[in-house]
């Protein structure tokens, strides 16, 4: 266990009273996700976390009956946790966050404009990156040019579902509608354009822009740019950005913004 490991173990197990810890560490010549129990050797921890640890947790969580779990969480992980807790995927009391402020390189790689978690335990807070340069270019294009750009990109899609499997807030997993035949007409690869439109719509009130979809795409399709374009739309339409545990999605409230069902009509 390296120094980072010792410091992390102290914070997670002693300070935050967690029973388990999810972090990233060196293992057999690679960087691996690691889920350790209290008292276990945490190993050579790394804080340049290449994984979306919340996604790793979503797959494990149903099988971990009880106990408090500490997660090394960057700002995007924190926002992902909020979106998932809001939807009952996690129960909040069982998750403890260990805040990690992202480095300059990580911010540049993710083109992230919101890199500092609410509580920082590791890393120095840095300024967010400027806007997505490709998004800017796309917005200046005409409709035809934009369509040509995206059709050429989506034609490379090999339907590996990396963008959905690795996305922390994309939790339909075993029953993802994109795997059904009806909405996306295709008998071979690449899938029809509807695949990416439907996914954009599903992500509109959930995506926390961690960029994992773009990083997991073998065809290098600029999916994070597409997410940022949709985020701009949601901001302009409803002044709403996902990631806040309290805020209900505008797609689930009335025009006045209150709850959809009114009690007067319970019969």
């Amino acid at each position: 266990m390296n120094d980072l490991g010792r410091k992390l173990a102290k914070i997670a197990f002693e300070e935050r009273k967690a029973d388990y810890l999810l972090a990233a560490r060196d293992e057999s010549g690679n960087v691996a996700p690691a889920f350790v129990s209290k008292g276990e050797d945490v190993g050579d921890v790394r804080m340049d976390v290449p994984y979306q640890l919340v996604m790793v947790l979503t797959k494990l969580y149903p099988w971990i009956g009880k106990g408090k779990i500490a997660v090394v969480a960057r700002r995007c992980d924190e926002k992902a946790l909020n979106e998932l807790t809001k939807r009952g995927i996690f129960d909040a009391e069982r998750i403890v966050k260990v805040g990690l402020a992202c480095s300059k390189e990580q911010i540049a790689k993710c083109r992230c404009d919101d890199p500092v978690p609410s509580k920082v335990d590791f890393g120095e807070p840095q300024k967010g990156a400027a806007s997505d340069e490709l998004a800017g270019k796309l917005l200046k294009m005409t409709g035809e040019e934009r369509l040509k750009f995206w059709v050429r990109q989506f034609r490379k899609c090999n339907k590996c579902f990396g963008c959905t499997t690795n996305c922390p807030v994309c939790f339909c997993d075993h029953a993802c509608v994109l795997e059904e035949r009806e909405l996306v007409a295709e008998k071979s690869i690449p899938p029809g354009l509807a695949f990416h439109l439907v996914r954009s719509f599903h992500m509109a009130d959930k995506c926390i822009e961690c960029g994992e979809c773009e990083r997991s795409c073998p065809a290098d399709i600029p999916l994070l740019t597409l997410r940022k374009l949709v985020k701009k739309d949601m901001k302009e339409l409803y002044n709403y950005a996902p990631g806040n545990e309290k805020a209900i999605s505008p797609l689930l409230t009335t025009l006045e913004g209150d709850k959809l069902e009114d009690d007067s009509n319970v019969c």
């Binding site: 690679n30 290449p50 099988w63 490379k156 339907k159 795997e179 690869i189």
Partner: protein, 678 residues
């Protein structure tokens, strides 16, 4: 509460991507791509993400089964193994050891392949040891050993990304090798010129710079045509040809007749396109050739492979960064199983059985007298079984009843055996005939190494226990070996097996489990302090001069006729894998392509009044199957394509067992067939 993330290698194709299997208290719950993996880089294809789905499937074989009359009943390992040994001994003594054949599997680890070939040669005393490489890249080994002295892929997977020109033929790369396809896509994005030559429009050809469609079985014509243009327009690398190659004159005269006009007549490729491709390939600085079953599975497969080697040598596109001839191995360890000697004519490390000094070397190493002449191949074995010359077969992980050509004939062979033993992870169409079935562990339940298509040796680590009493195959082979009373089968771990394998095979000499924990090793890796050669033939061919092959076009073994006017080609799709033993038990894969289909050209379909989704009967001289028609513009008129994953409509009921004379590989890619509405 035990939670593990176990780093292992994907069991499906030859790319060798690494990912973590998530295990909670012995239950497999998910797959996480390894972000720092040199090949996957945190990405996988749809099969990779579902590689855990079949492992803990309820239908897994859990106990040895022995035949009792017509019924199969559970048995102990002792009873089952003793039954195999006694039967083999009886048959071997009655008809001679060469009446027994042993099939290893390209799904096995290197260690297991090494032990199974040792079982055949040392324990049973026969060279009749083969595996399904026979059905895929046998013609590559025979072809490239002649041209370059080695049958392996000359470059590494990441190099595809930096090529200026990609000549891809006989490979639907984005479906059969998705992560290599992804590298090609990245190259195309960077401006590389991709040329795809395939009778079908494939996901890769749709984004390629040039997409040509040749009539199946006419590959040598257009490849020789390109060679002719390169020579006549003086585009070839004179310095390289003079210093590094031999038989240039013979090549020159052989290709003379393949003018662009003649090539167009034979293959259908427009002559101006052929010239454009020849110039583009020759003039590029870094040009990669990539090919797979579309080139190898022909009755002249070996010659087609050599004609591709000719192009590379003509332009000096060999032995350099992002330049070479790259056979894309289909299986996760077909490369390793050949390296480990599971071939009738090669000891481990491609050391020829026919060479007396090699026989002597292995007799000393294994201190056992070894059989003289090379053994029979997998494809010949069923032929000989039908004739009664092969009396017993031990098949590890092979599903011949779906993967081998002319299944009705294969069945005749198996039924004619006196003894047939099979080891597998599920019951398959082939284990149905077995007298003894041995339950095996799958990739997630054992340690070992796979060698992926670009010769990297990749670790496989045990994540969960095997179901019931299933054993890893290396343990089965060892136990059998001991019960035969043969020396050298008491290994306690795969690591030890690798050490012995390394000691007898120079190309694996530097490889060991503890080194693999820390670094990436690529064979040939001849010393413990070296990483191994990433690129082959740098600065020179091992055998001195590369040999041009003066090969000529020859019609496929079975040409279309009045009664069977269409050409049928078979192959794979992205979602299923080979005989479907694993993919058809993975829900999210089976759902993507659950139903057998035949792709046919929309003009043909209109002519025959067949609409999308109609049920049609496709028949050849050898049989007929009924399946759904998929009408598409993505296939040439007169050509049909059927994926062979579906046992309920097995494409190999129709395929032609005609073999390539040198490599003995069946002509899966061409046979004559007809279509009728069912």
């Amino acid at each position: 509460m035990s939670v593990k993330h176990v780093l292992t290698t994907c069991p499906y194709c030859g790319c060798g991507c690494n990912f973590y299997l998530q295990v909670v208290d012995g239950r497999l719950v998910g797959v996480i791509p390894c972000k720092t993996d040199v090949i996957g880089q945190g990405r996988l294809c749809i099969k990779g993400y579902n590689a855990h789905a079949f492992v803990q499937h309820p239908d897994r074989l859990t106990h040895p089964l022995v035949r009792d009359g017509s019924q199969m009943r559970k048995a102990s390992w002792d009873e089952a193994l003793d039954r195999v040994v006694s039967e083999i001994k009886r048959i071997s003594s009655k008809y001679g050891p060469d009446s027994v054949a042993v099939f290893s599997s390209a799904k096995f680890t290197n260690e297991e392949n090494y032990l199974v070939q040792k079982l055949a040669r040392v324990a049973i005393g026969t060279n009749n040891i083969d595996h399904c490489a026979r059905l895929c890249h046998a013609s590559t080994v025979a072809g490239l050993v002649y041209s370059f002295g080695s049958g392996a892929m000359t470059n590494s997977i990441p190099e595809f990304e930096d090529a200026d020109c990609l000549l891809v033929t006989g490979s639907n790369t984005l479906e059969t090798h998705p992560m290599i396809g992804a590298r090609m896509v990245r190259a195309i994005d960077r401006g590389a010129k991709a040329i795809v030559v395939d009778p079908r429009e494939t996901p890769l050809s749709r984004i390629a710079h040039i997409s040509l469609h040749q009539r199946p079985g006419t590959d040598i014509a257009w490849i020789d045509g390109i060679a002719r243009i390169i020579i006549t327009e003086n585009l070839y690398d004179k310095e390289f040809v003079e210093t590094r190659t031999a038989k240039f004159e013979e090549l020159k005269s052989a290709v003379e007749e393949y003018t662009p006009e003649r090539v167009e007549a034979i293959s259908g490729i427009p002559k101006d396109k052929l010239v454009e491709v020849a110039r583009l390939y020759a003039r590029s600085k870094k040009a990669m050739i990539a090919y797979a079953m579309g080139v190898t599975q022909h009755s002249n497969g070996t010659e087609i492979v050599r004609s591709l080697a000719n192009l590379a040598m003509l332009c000096g596109h060999i032995g350099k960064e992002s330049s070479g001839v790259n056979p894309l191995r289909g299986q996760n360890n077909v490369q390793g199983s050949c390296d480990a000697g599971a071939l009738p004519n090669y000891y481990p490390g491609y050391q020829s059985v026919a060479a007396p000094e090699m026989k002597a070397k292995f007799e000393k190493a294994w201190n056992k007298q070894l059989p003289e002449k090379p053994g029979v191949t997998l494809t010949e074995a069923f032929e000989l079984a039908a004739k009664g010359q092969i009396k017993a077969i031990i098949s590890f992980g092979e599903n011949a009843m779906v993967s081998d050509p002319d299944i009705t004939h294969v069945e005749k062979g198996i039924r004619n055996l006196e003894f047939f033993a099979a080891a597998d992870i599920f019951n398959t169409e082939t284990t149905k005939f077995a007298h003894v079935i041995l339950p095996a562990a799958c990739y997630a339940e054992k340690d070992g190494t796979f060698t992926c298509t670009d010769r990297k040796v990749r670790r496989v680590r045990k994540a969960v226990d095997a179901p019931g009493e299933a054993w890893p195959d290396w343990k089965i082979a060892c136990e059998l070996g001991k019960r035969f009373g043969a020396p050298g089968f008491d290994f306690s771990s795969p690591a030890q097996v690798m050490d012995e394998f390394a000691s007898v095979a120079p190309i694996y000499a530097g490889i060991s489990f503890d080194r693999l924990e820390k670094e990436i090793l690529t064979w040939p890796c001849t010393a413990k302090d070296q990483p191994g050669a990433r690129i082959l033939h740098v600065g020179g061919f091992k055998m001195g001069r590369g040999a041009f092959a003066p090969v000529k076009h020859a019609d496929p073994a079975e040409m279309p006729s009045a009664e069977y006017p269409m050409i049928l080609s078979t192959g794979r799709n992205l979602f299923q894998y080979h005989t479907g033993t694993m993919t058809r038990k993975s829900p999210k894969l089976e759902r993507e392509a659950p139903v057998p289909y035949v792709e046919m050209n929309d003009a043909d379909a209109r002519r025959m009044k067949v609409a999308e989704g109609d049920r049609v009967r496709v028949s050849s001289k050898r049989g007929n199957i009924t399946l759904v028609a998929r009408v598409t513009r993505n296939i040439m008129p007169g050509v049909l394509f059927i994926p062979f994953h579906y046992a309920e409509a097995a494409a190999n009921m129709l395929t032609n067992p005609a073999l390539d004379p040198i490599a003995k590989i069946p002509e899966y890619k061409v046979c004559a067939a007809k279509v009728e509405k069912a």
